[in-house]
């Protein structure tokens, strides 16, 4: 039920998604020049870097000139903690958010009143692209608080005129009760949390297919096409991938349309480039590399050429939906997710894909890295599910052997696979943490 190609009806909020490309490029250049001027004037770090390169805002005469500007990285946000990259007076900042900051200081981001309005508008356009509108009942299970997911989705859902249930993350049984009793038609959360909801609904005997739920807006972590297939096979929802990051604005940087072939970037506010992560060279559309984003209309904290570490490609060609916004391929991996084990590059997404392929559904799993006598050890722990469990030892041994063999084929190294009891791997209510790298401690 994902294709709605015939005579689509568009939400009026989506109008900016269809601006003719030449006009869009003109708008991008105007906004780029203005934001570079603003950042140059107000942000010392940015100004000094431009001066070091003997570049001034006047050198930005075309969109291609953006390559003259230096990159911004997450380290820059840490180094200038908390307010060093603010380009507006604090009195004009109406909101700050911060990353969870699992290691060291968090990174802080800021919004003026206008920035919040821009954020709301891109979230409204995101929901509109998912076919949501006035009258929908949206359960917002993203965490509210310093994390941008909760409030970002909340403002967008209110903005489109839906009834918002600001339930936030956690308390899965209550989520399911509310979903059922309130007649929820759409849910926003991380894809892994939704998988957890599916599991729990099954245990509670709640048939998600019998509910009016018809759309899921899933983001804040990379997920896969096979996860979408699984979600859509056990529910009646259409699952949409939403992309965003706090440094840029939060959720609402890019969204899938009903064609589910890449995510449309709201280019009138976020200018995308794909670069070679090694050399920093800009790559043409179609080539895979690291996504770099420039905020074109965010005044409290402009991000110029921010390196997202997300690996993707800008898809060439037009989308059948008619949007002129370019699409990026869904994020499969992040450049900093890559694990180097005994010299081999291993992406957690590869292991996830193998588990899905072998088992048919995605079990809960985690990846453990340790070091034994100087040698990297990697182990994948996989919870046994009712679908794969057998009373025969041979069947379970064959299962773990098959997982091991398939990982070896895909990744190139043999990885120990351990079957563990159900419910023994910690569940996440936000972004799932799958990788535990203890090599520094052993």
């Amino acid at each position: 039920m994902t294709e709605t190609t015939q005579t689509p009806t568009f939400h009026p909020a989506s109008a900016p998604d269809f601006v003719p490309a030449p006009l869009l490029r003109k708008l991008q250049l105007d906004r780029l020049q203005a934001i570079v001027g603003h950042a140059y004037e107000r942000v010392a770090l940015f100004r000094e870097r431009l001066q070091g390169r003997k570049v001034t805002p006047a050198n930005i005469q075309s969109l291609g000139d953006i390559a003259k500007l230096p990159f911004t990285t997450k380290t820059d946000l840490r180094d200038t903690y908390p307010f060093g990259l603010f380009a507006s007076a604090l009195k004009d900042v109406v909101r700050v958010h911060a990353s969870s900051g699992t290691t060291g200081k968090p990174i802080v981001v800021a919004y003026t009143k206008d920035d919040v309005a821009v954020w709301t508008s891109v979230m409204v356009r995101s929901f509109a692209a998912c076919g949501l509108h006035e009258g929908d009942i949206i359960q917002n299970a993203y965490g509210y608080g310093l994390f941008t997911g909760g409030l970002g989705a909340h403002y967008g859902a209110e903005g489109i005129g839906a009834t918002v249930i600001p339930i936030s993350g956690g308390n899965t049984d209550r989520q399911i009760m509310v979903m059922k009793d309130f007649g929820v038609t759409a849910i926003c959360c991380t894809p892994t949390y939704f998988l957890h909801l599916i599991d729990r609904a099954g245990q509670l005997g709640v048939d998600l297919k019998a509910l009016p739920l018809r759309a899921g807006v899933f983001g804040a972590e990379p997920w896969t096409q096979s996860m979408r297939k699984h979600i859509e096979s056990v529910t009646n929802i259409s699952a949409f991938d939403i992309y965003g990051l706090s440094e840029i604005i939060g959720p609402g940087v890019a969204i899938e349309c009903p064609h589910h072939d890449g995510l449309h970037i709201f280019e009138d506010h976020f200018y995308p480039e794909i670069i070679d992560p090694e050399t920093g060279k800009v790559l043409p559309d179609g080539e895979e590399g690291e996504l770099v984003l420039t905020t074109l209309s965010k005044w409290a904290m402009p991000m110029i050429r921010y390196r997202t570490r997300d690996i993707t490609a800008l898809l060439p060609g037009a989308c059948p939906c008619g949007r002129t916004l370019r699409r990026m391929r869904r994020i499969g991996r992040r450049s900093d997710d890559m694990l180097i084990v005994r010299g081999v590059n291993v992406y957690p997404s590869q292991i996830e894909a193998v588990l899905l392929e072998v088992e048919g559904t995605l079990p809960h799993y985690q990846i453990l890295l340790t070091r034994d006598h100087g040698l990297d050890q990697i182990e994948v722990q996989v919870e046994v599910t009712p679908q794969v469990f057998s009373d025969r030892v041979g069947a379970l041994e064959a299962l773990s052997d098959k997982i091991m063999d398939t990982i070896e084929r895909v990744v190139g190294i043999r990885i120990k696979v351990t079957l563990v009891e159900p419910q023994t791997i910690q569940r996440s209510e936000g972004k799932a943490k799958r990788v535990f790298d203890k090599r520094g401690q052993t």
Binding site: F389, S390, D391, L396, E397, L419, E421, P422
Partner: protein
């Protein structure tokens, strides 16, 4: 004739058997027969209990993965050669024994063998043809 057997996945770690056993005990479910298959990597606990449906529900609610399979119980005389006689009767027959376990069952001079056959129905036909007595389920469950 066929008896319901429950299997539970258990990690090969200390203390991982006590949990499910205690849960059943606390709810008055009696374990009639038990076998543990253990490998270096994991274990499978197989149980025949007094109330299969109740035990399944209890274990699943507690988060265990439970599988129900049909097994056959065969009574043999509890003396040297009792098992060997049954096995040699089955030898050369097309039925495949996946695994088996045995326990003395409080009958005078009798022991009970629990067989998990690949095809229990085919096995019933063969055992009956050979005159090997198959125990009715309630004999095990209520004895």
């Amino acid at each position: 004739m066929k008896i319901q057997q429950l299997s539970i996945f258990a990690e090969n770690k200390p203390g991982h058997l006590a949990g499910p056993c205690r849960l059943l005990a606390d709810h008055g479910v009696d374990i009639r027969a038990l076998s543990l298959a253990d490998t270096q990597r994991f274990g499978i606990l197989r149980l025949i209990v007094s109330d299969t449906a109740k035990a399944t529900k209890l274990l699943e609610t507690a988060g265990h993965v439970v599988k129900t399979t049909e097994v056959l119980a065969v009574e043999v005389s509890d003396e040297p050669g009792g098992l060997a006689r049954v096995l040699s009767e089955l030898e050369g027959s097309p039925v495949n024994i996946e695994y088996m376990y045995a326990f003395p069952f409080g009958h005078q001079g009798k022991a009970v063998l629990i067989f998990r056959f690949g095809d229990p129905d085919a096995a019933i036909t063969i055992l009956q043809a050979k005159g090997i007595p198959i125990l009715a389920g309630d004999v095990i469950l209520k004895a």
